[in-house]
């Protein structure tokens, strides 16, 4: 079978992470990478042995490209995704799907009409500890999930300035909290009834994006959850994700800081690594367990076997709706019922 051609849009942290992962997916071959500044893109392209573009239309004209992988700022997802779908390409987009439900709906509609596959990178579902949580919940180990709390946080992502611009990233409540919102909805497997949230700029007053969110979610069958998402932590704070769910028959706790298998301490630095999330290093990196490899592999499988991706546009729209409801709730200082009406 012919290899599927891939083009990656964006060469930031996520773009290069994907470029690394694609190399290990044998059904595919990355053909091109696109970015704004041609000089910089050329360097990345050279490293990965692919073509460099700074013009999307030129890239889209290539007929040896089957998959467009969008790793650009969230505000651009819809435009790139829809143009790609109209050109008959399958689309993998980073999370969040978009910054508005209107955009999300247009993307979903375009994928359907053009009969292409569309997946959104809710990569948490492919992290080994979260896969284990899901497995245990599905086995009935905790009975019905009832109350959960999640924490996700680290320093402000200064290395990628677009995160700090609310009109590009949506702020912490949309960009970061959405990971846990999606995972909670997957675990609880219920519709969200209402959302109450505090979303603030606590530390970083000179940017437009909020850096702190406390989101309380109520599910339709009476389950509740707290999602805490923070970019308000000190510069040396290790990126932390905690998850806890109490159910009618048991509880599950996960904490990436307490399960670090490899710690590195030198006179200059202290760092913890897990093989799955190690900065890419071919000799030791077990790619079959890399969450980014796994999600892209799943997407390719869906294309090959004509299946619906686990985190389809429709699924991704749901967590976006909750995050947008959180923003609305914080503005109104009142709980916001779903479905959310935009406008």
């Amino acid at each position: 079978m012919d290899k599927l051609g891939v083009a990656v849009l964006g060469y930031g942290f996520m773009g290069t992470t994907h470029l690394s992962a694609w190399k290990y997916i044998e059904e595919c071959e990355v053909k091109a990478v696109m970015g704004r500044t041609l000089e910089k893109v050329k360097k990345v392209a050279e490293k990965f042995g692919v073509d460099a573009y700074n013009n999307f239309e030129d890239l889209l004209r290539r007929d040896d490209i089957d998959i467009i992988d969008i790793c650009t700022p969230t505000s651009t997802h819809a435009r790139y995704a829809i143009a790609s779908m109209e050109a008959g390409k399958h689309v993998f987009s980073e999370k969040p799907i978009a910054l508005s439900l209107k955009d999300a709906d247009a993307m979903i509609e375009s994928a359907k009409r053009n009969k292409v596959k569309f997946m959104v990178g809710h990569v948490l579902r492919f992290f080994p500890e979260y896969m284990k949580i899901k497995e245990l919940v599905d086995q009935g180990m905790i009975g019905e999930p009832v109350i959960a709390r999640t924490f996700r946080g680290g320093p402000i992502p200064e290395w990628s300035p677009w995160f700090l611009d609310k009109s590009q990233s949506g702020g912490v409540a949309v960009d970061l909290a959405i990971h846990d919102v999606d995972f909670l909805m997957w675990i609880f497997n219920q519709r969200v009834e209402r959302v109450y949230a505090k979303v603030e700029r606590l530390i970083h007053k000179d940017i437009t994006a909020e850096d702190y969110a406390l989101i309380t979610i109520r599910f339709e069958k009476g389950g509740i959850a707290l999602v805490e998402a923070s970019w308000a932590l000190p510069k040396k704070f290790p990126f932390t994700m905690r998850f806890e769910v109490d159910g009618t028959k048991g509880m599950i706790v996960s904490d990436n800081q307490s399960t670090v298998p490899v710690k590195l301490i030198t006179n200059e630095t202290t760092a913890g690594f897990a093989p799955e999330t190690l900065p890419w290093r071919p000799a030791v990196h077990p790619f079959p367990v890399d969450p980014f490899y796994r999600e892209l592999k799943h997407f390719v499988e869906c294309i090959r076997e004509d299946k619906t991706p686990m985190t389809s546009g429709e699924v991704a729209r749901k967590s976006l709706e909750v995050c947008l409801a959180a923003l609305r709730s914080a503005e109104l200082n009142a709980p916001v019922k779903l479905p959310l009406k935009e406008g």
């Binding site: 109450y196 406390l214 000190p234 109490d246 200082n333």
Partner: protein, 337 residues
């Protein structure tokens, strides 16, 4: 000046009567003299265990002149009447939290104690825990700058509330997890911010344990007068097989840094091999806040000082708790009264 404080227990329905009794006995300037309890069997058991007298009525205990102070560890709903009697009899009062189940009761208790000139201390043990005091000091030293957000848990093993029936009988307890486990964190947040709660929003979930007839889980968002945001999860929702009773944790986020408090984290792990079911358990070696709290109360009486956790602090805890219930009922943020 007296060099010793002699205690009577009014009500021992709350588990803490045991640890407070033990704490008093450990102190050279404390003594436990007598106990009254509505449930005579329970009261006599307690009397026997501590080798003290059982009194048949609160009045019988309160008219004794070999008692200087009372510990009220009855069911929540009975705190008020016992405290009022104690104040009238001129006894100092150490009252379990929540100090009352209505604001009217709480205000009345505090006012009467003041009028009678007796000390009233609320059992907010976390104000006496060396780890939370350490955090208080770090905050006051400016280690994390200006406080912005406080997010905490005071969760409990779901098997514990059922050990004493009254915890799940609203007419005696005033409610479930919200009533029982809002106040410690609410008080820490007040203490650390030096500010009062301006507004609370509470979601109460369906129960984890259907055998419990009151709510056993909730999530409360708080906004303080000075703008700090806070969050309280005091659910009784930890699985009964957990290796410990529960926790008190608090994230303190400031402009210059963050502190994570896990107050009861100092444990050694034990695992048995008697049976396949012998599971991991935690064995605590940290500070005994009950002992520190009783020590401080005795000091306040002997040296005529103001308690660290006052009746007013207890009253504010009740106000936040009741606002939480109201918020859950109305589905909107509520300002505590």
């Amino acid at each position: 000046m007296a060099d010793k404080v002699r205690f009577g227990f009014l009500g021992v329905a709350h588990f803490h009567s045991e640890s407070y009794g033990r704490a008093i006995k450990q102190l050279p300037n404390g003594e436990v003299v007598a106990v009254y309890e509505d449930d005579e069997k329970l009261g006599r058991e307690y009397a026997q265990k501590f080798n003290i007298e059982y009194c048949k009525s609160p009045d019988e205990l309160l008219k004794r002149d070999d008692i200087d102070a009372v510990v009220i560890t009855s069911e929540n709903a009975k705190h008020h009447d016992l405290a009022v009697k104690a104040a009238e009899a001129g006894k100092h009062i150490l009252c379990e939290k929540p100090i009352a189940i209505t604001l009217k009761q709480a205000d009345d208790m505090v006012r009467r104690a003041e009028k009678a000139g007796v000390k009233f201390q609320t059992c907010f043990v976390m104000r006496y825990h060396s780890t939370s005091i350490l955090v208080k000091n770090l905050i006051e030293d400016g280690t994390v700058g200006k406080i912005l957000a406080l997010v905490g848990t005071n969760k409990l093993n779901s098997s514990l509330p059922l050990l004493r029936d009254w915890f799940t009988q609203p007419e005696l307890s005033g409610g479930g997890a919200v009533m029982d486990h809002t106040v410690h964190l609410a008080d820490l947040i007040r203490w650390y911010t030096g500010s009062e709660a301006a507004e609370v929003y509470t979601e109460i979930g369906r129960n984890v344990n259907p055998k419990i007839k009151v709510e056993d889980n909730f999530l409360t968002t708080i906004r303080m007068e000075n703008g700090v945001i806070g969050h309280i999860d005091g659910s009784w929702s930890y699985a009964s097989g957990l290796y410990t009773w529960g926790d008190v944790t608090l994230e303190v986020l400031g402009t210059e840094g963050v502190i994570f408090l896990d107050a009861f984290r100092q444990n050694v792990y034990y695992v048995g091999m008697e049976s396949p079911n012998d599971k991991l358990t935690w064995h605590y070696y940290g500070c005994d806040p009950d002992l520190e709290m009783v020590k401080s109360f005795i000091e306040c009486i002997l040296e005529d000082k103001e308690p660290v956790a006052t009746g007013f602090d207890g009253r504010q805890g009740v106000a936040i708790t009741l606002a939480s219930y109201e918020s859950a009922k109305l589905g909107k943020p509520v300002r505590p009264r």
